[in-house]
Point group: C2
Chain length 412, copies 2
């Protein structure tokens, strides 16, 4: 007999009929497998935003401690309703607030981090035959105040609980049936992945694939929690997020991701002086501007062009700052291009194969898509292309690397 | 510098503009008087019922522990919003859940009773200059589970907190500006009472005047908490509920109350046997039927007619039980009259004056209202009259006893 954690997101408990569906699913699983189950739930879909809007309608800048008191009611409602629904199925069930579940966090309201889980009450409850239904997304700080974990927090609760309880698996139920090679809305040929390793999943989630929050993937990786993403509404095995060494076959490219919410800033003829670079990026950091890609190209011996991408929302601010710095840096000028998209191919198999980048450029060239920036890491190649081509680029790269799960032959 | 508790009911915090109004009121009070303030709030109007309906839509019979988890979110929302609104006024404020406020109850979910308040955190918060905003209506039992106190629970929270903190006063803000000699909707001549003693208030609230729950009055009486009922929306001194000895003048009749939700059951020719009476009422008790008035009239030496009132909802059930008992009791028969109303006059001054009942019957007779049952206590005379006359009876009695605060001359 094993123990698993099952987490259901806001869409999965979005209304009473869905709550009963989830109760059914959990009840049946326990009946069929004999495994113990701990459930983690999010607030009903839309509820967290409703509560945040309520606070913002009340005062211009809601105080973070009080905002957390308010927002945390969302999960409290879900835990009680799901417990009732489980009992209606004939299961023994009991709701747990973060406090009752022993989830301690630091004091950063609205974006707290879990520090410790004292899981005695949950263990006792399991031993007594109950299905504990735990409020995701929240914790208690040292002062006994309610905190929330920020976006994606319920996933983190689930993975952290699975780690603390040494669960055999943590299932993240959502409204998609797994992780795809790329976004199926953009590319109907996208294929569902049976397995993906943590490092790949981190790249997927940082790149805007909204299936799992990166923090929960880190947690799962650090604490060796076998993680599975699957659909609440459709049957299927989902996608397992596993250790790299557990990948039975290592496709070179696992998937294609994209971002369309960044802008590119280019500074021309910057003196090739290490101090210039450090000045530039420390000023950006002081202004809280997050830099994503940075590329630098040689121009002549003493001057260089440098491009970097920032979030579109920050781009006006970032350009102003850069333009003020241009004289001090001794550069020629700076400009901003908002019509860009970043497309990445991801796969741990790249570690063992070369020629991936060239195949990528070939595929893009075959559609006449020019590449404006290139950045590579061990398991990823990212390019910036004109925004108007982004869907074409995604489809072309998925076709080239991921279609039919055919291993592309590349030279070592 | 003093300390007061101010409690605001659901209507008082029914929407965001009202929450800001309450924040204003509290902020101004603290600024003007220099007194420390602890605020107790109910859920926003309609929210508790919405949550109960949600539970009942989810499952036929919501489990009490989970129902309390669900319903208690209502006050949690109010405390956070009101704290934010107070901060927006420039006050220091902090929300307190029942747990944070140290409110311990027994384990009776949905109708728990407060057993202890460990008020250190609240005291510390006051000392640090904060206005604690405490969730009414809820507590924590010994297992650390959330409980709720049942209807009227927020008033009880306020009074219990005032008692624990040895507050100088407890203000119950509501949508009426005090306690009236009778229901102003029925009798426009009803006058607002400046003072009323606990015993009178208990009679008022048991009789259906919805201003204060009897349990909170008991609490205030037991712990000597000076209590004031006043309006959130209109200026005014409200009504103070004080000890009998603090009533400066003791009008004979303070007010007139009524109930129209009872039915009268009459058993005719019951043998005058103490065992018959005890059988009758113990059977009713076994069936959970609450008996209000009981009157008995001599018929002949060995037989008696007995009438009693029950809640209208219970009357069909009660009549059936009684009819089954009739042969065993040796009575002649039983009948039920649903077209009745109970009208009471209340006043501690009755203790010191006679002739009150006769003045009551005179007043009713002057309107040709026949009296079907009479029951008297030290501070109350209740009569049952045909339901169609109930408003006339209330107005007549208010006119006779309470109008213009003129002391009625009665013979000693």
């Amino acid at each position: 007999m094993g123990l698993v954690v099952k987490k259901f997101g806001g869409t999965s408990v979005g209304d009473l009929s869905r709550i009963h569906h989830v109760a059914n699913l959990v009840h049946d699983y326990k009946q069929k497998t004999g495994n113990d189950v701990v459930v983690v739930v999010s607030a009903m879909a839309g509820e967290t935003n409703r509560l945040i809007d309520l606070a913002k309608s009340c005062v211009a800048r809601p105080e973070p401690r009080e905002l957390d008191v308010l927002v945390s009611t969302g999960e409290q409602v879900s835990t009680s309703l799901l417990s009732m629904a489980l009992m209606a199925q004939g299961s023994k069930a009991k709701s747990f607030s973060a406090r009752q579940a022993g989830i301690s966090t630091n004091t950063s309201f609205t974006k707290a981090q879990i520090e410790e889980i004292q899981d005695e009450r949950i263990r006792e409850s399991i031993a007594a035959g109950f299905i504990p239904v735990v409020a995701g997304f929240q914790g208690i700080n040292q002062s006994g105040d309610i905190t929330t974990l920020g976006r994606g927090g319920s996933d983190i609760t689930a993975v952290a609980l699975a780690a603390a309880l040494k669960a055999d698996a943590c299932y993240i139920y959502t409204d998609v049936d797994g992780v795809y090679s790329t976004d199926p809305r953009v590319c109907p040929e996208a294929t569902r992945l049976d397995r993906i390793c943590h490092e790949e999943m981190l790249e997927f989630s940082s790149m805007g694939a909204k299936v799992l929050h990166p923090r929960s993937v880190y947690f799962a990786m650090a604490y060796h929690v076998p993680l599975c993403v699957l659909s609440t509404f459709e049957p299927g095995e989902g996608t397992w997020i596993v250790k790299e060494e557990e990948l039975m076959e290592k496709p070179i490219v696992t998937g294609v991701t994209y971002r369309t919410d960044e802008a590119k800033i280019t500074i021309s003829k910057l003196p090739s002086d290490p101090k210039a670079l450090s000045t530039l990026f420390s000023v950006m950091a002081e202004h809280g501007i997050f830099i994503d890609m940075i590329t630098q190209t040689g121009f002549d011996g003493s001057k260089t062009d440098i491009s970097f991408t920032v979030m579109d929302d920050d781009s006006t601010n970032a350009l102003e700052i850069v333009q003020q710095l241009v004289p001090e840096l001794g550069a020629q000028g700076a400009e901003c291009d908002r019509d860009i998209a970043k497309i990445s191919i991801i796969g741990v198999g790249m570690r063992y194969h070369s020629g991936v980048a060239s195949q990528m450029f070939e595929a893009l060239a075959s559609e006449n898509i020019g590449v404006e920036m290139i950045s590579t890491s061990e398991i990823k190649v990212s390019v910036v292309v004109p925004k108007k081509y982004w869907e074409v680029a995604v489809r072309t790269l998925n076709q080239s690397f991921c279609s039919h799960n055919i291993e592309v032959s590349v030279e070592k």
